[in-house]
């Protein structure tokens, strides 16, 4: 199968999640006897093709045009659909980032083909690709396969698939996108960075989360200090968000973000079913809670029954000492 990967760039830099998608695209193409290409859109982005080659793109369609300077689902949707046709692709792959989730259905809808969202695994069985995706925020998983002979799209959950190393020197093809200003209806005017440039829970490899046990918004600074040391993002339970202690962007769980970091430290979070759905696929889970009966201990690899206001500062100190030893 020929796989076309939409590679997302922001400020001229490729997203790591797009390198993951390109690597998966390369692997699927290899295992099904096809080719893998990328499409990248933006302004002054020609040099990104080489980087996409390093993770397996044989061909890169480059839409280097002022019209793509700011993201527009209309303009990007048209251009990616054009690239899909130009490559003779069977599969459209992109990462399920904020942009990917917004863009993918605009392309598959335009091309009248099916789309699987937020895929977390795939295997190739007898030339057919079988995909696994979480439903109910991870309370269950569905395994699906495309009906034969029809092109389709897939978005891949970020932070799940590895970045490969399949060095290619890609053929660079300027994309004949045909997009005009009349096609651009919804367009980004401005990007607002989160306060203090904090890492997003959806992208973080380590997450320190605080729940009802945090007792108030002012106490999140103890989590922030530890997060700073570990290069971690600060997460929260729904209870803390609904209490107004922290913005919803930090919420982990069924009505927040579903995350799979290497390390998830839950502080003062009891572990409601909605929260567990959102973080149970983390590699290592640490729970700190005063209540030894809290459900969070059932999913934790390591648990400390204790007051987070005693444990977290000690943990911060111990991590500082560990880092000092190098």
């Amino acid at each position: 199968m020929n796989v076309l990967v939409f590679a997302e760039q922001r400020s001229g830099k490729l997203k790591k999640a797009s390198l993951e998608a390109m690597s998966a695209g390369r692997a699927i193409a290899d295992q099904t006897g096809g080719s893998a290409a990328a499409v990248v859109l933006g302004q002054s982005i020609g040099s990104l093709a080489e980087e996409l080659g390093k993770v397996g793109a044989e061909k890169v369609f480059v839409g280097d045009d002022g019209i793509f300077e700011q993201y527009s689902s209309d303009a990007y949707g048209l251009a990616v659909a054009k690239a899909f046709g130009a490559f003779g692709a069977d599969v459209l792959l992109m990462s399920a980032t904020a942009m990917g989730k917004d863009l993918a259905p605009r392309v598959t809808g335009r091309l009248d083909m099916g789309l699987l969202s937020d895929v977390t695994g795939y295997t190739v069985e007898g030339g057919a690709v079988v995909f696994t995706r979480p439903i109910f925020s991870g309370k269950a998983f569905a395994t699906l396969t495309p009906k034969a002979g029809k092109p389709f799209g897939v978005t891949l959950r970020p932070n799940v698939f590895p970045v490969g190393d399949a060095a290619k020197t890609p053929e660079v093809v300027p994309l004949e996108h045909g997009v005009t200003s009349g096609d651009v209806k919804a367009v980004v005017e401005q990007i607002l960075a989160a306060e203090g440039g904090m890492l997003d829970v959806a992208e973080a490899d380590v997450i320190i989360s605080g729940g009802r046990g945090m007792k108030g918004p002012e106490n999140y600074k103890i989590l922030e200090e530890l997060a700073g040391l570990l290069g971690a993002a600060v997460g929260a339970s729904r209870a803390a968000v609904d209490a107004g202690w922290i913005d919803h962007a930090h919420q982990v769980g069924q009505t927040g973000k579903v995350v799979s970091p290497s390390l998830y430290i839950a502080c003062g979070i009891s572990g409601a079913i909605q929260h567990l759905a959102g973080m149970s696929s983390s590699k290592v889970i640490v729970a700190v809670n005063k209540d030894p009966e809290a459900p969070i201990f059932k999913v934790a690899n390591y648990g400390i029954v204790g007051d987070l206001f005693e444990v977290v500062p000690l943990l911060t100190q111990a991590v500082k000492e560990l880092k000092a030893q190098g």
Partner: protein, 261 residues
Amino acid sequence: MNILVCVKHVPDTETRVKIAPDGLHLDLSEANFVMNPYDEYAVEEALQLKEKLGGEVTVLTVGGDDATKTLRQALAMGADKSVLISDAAFEGNDAMATAKTLAAAAKKQSFDLVLAGKHGVGEDNQQVGSLLAQFLDIPAVTVVTKLELDGTNAKCTREIEGGAEVVKTSLPAVFTCQKGLNEPRYPSLKGIMQAKKKEVTTYSAADLGLDGSSVGAGAAAFELKKYELPPPRPAGRVLSGEIPDQVKELVQLLHEEAKVI
């Protein structure tokens, strides 16, 4: 300002998912079905816009007769009219088929904008709003946390990784709503009484000119192989001893055993 709101009747977030013995069906017999939580923000936003600008709010859903409960809730909150799109032909609808169905129903209404939840909990596809826009040939802005209308344009804020984007669009457009956009109201007793008298229009597949070639299980792009529960997590260790010693042990375990710090 006439507003269409697309809603979905879904198992609530407390639901414990069970899988039927054949592995191909979910057993949701014990689940409590409610209006999709994100759709509550869409209904609320529509009502606030109506209160400011006048017009009518019409709620649409694709579902069985039980989905009337979710329509009644929207009507009790203050929506004016509702449409239940229901037919055996819609059994097994994927996101594409649902969007085509909603688009066909939307074309029978006059509207200035369409609101929906950012995704339906359960299926978690996050596709229908964008697909609907595509089939109506209008723009879409998804995961919106702030919406301001200005004549024939709208300016909204949408959530992205580590921040937000301000997006400007022409109208009509589809907006999908995220937590933070507003605080959905509870239906008042008066609202609940009035809702009983409000109109629920029903459309069949034939009413919308749809058949099994474009909707339902037969039109689905993917074939389900199986449902599975997540693998159980290995039994964990609750540490013991004085808290400072436990913390030291934890850091050592994370560093040497789990190798995650």
